[in-house]
Subunit: 80 residues, 2 copies
């Protein structure tokens, strides 16, 4: 089973990297671009076949290692 985990900064947490990208895009002439936020995407191959079990273990991975839950939130997407 393939899984995709998004780790992004919580709303309200300053994102200087996103701001820099936004400014650069505006500078390149992309005037329609408003707010930009940058995060991480992690693609995992799991041997787990059961979706509920996979989701539970991914949640644990996020809490333990992948995300800093003080300032970051995560989303889990499964592709069987």
């Amino acid at each position: 089973m393939k899984a995709r985990v998004f780790v992004t900064l919580k709303t309200g947490v300053l994102d200087p990297q996103g701001k820099a990208i936004g400014h650069a895009l505006n500078g390149l002439g992309f005037r329609t671009v408003g707010e930009v936020r940058q995060g991480k995407v992690i693609d995992l191959d799991l041997a787990e076949k059961n979706e509920t079990a996979a989701r539970a273990s991914l949640r644990e991975m996020c809490e333990k290692l992948l995300a800093n839950t003080v300032i970051e939130k995560y989303e889990i997407e499964l592709k069987p």
Copy 2:
């Protein structure tokens, strides 16, 4: 319109960061984890209302700034 852009390394390009995450997860006891790849996710707010135009301009942003197309590939997701 909100857009999400994924920038990930092309298959075949070594991803030491992903490997490190995979090792760390195995070390933490997540034995079902196989290959891990890490990439970037960029969330953008666009003033553009037209989906085709938005997609075209996002493609241009990726080619010009967001992705290094020699080693990275990108995916564009639109949420109206």
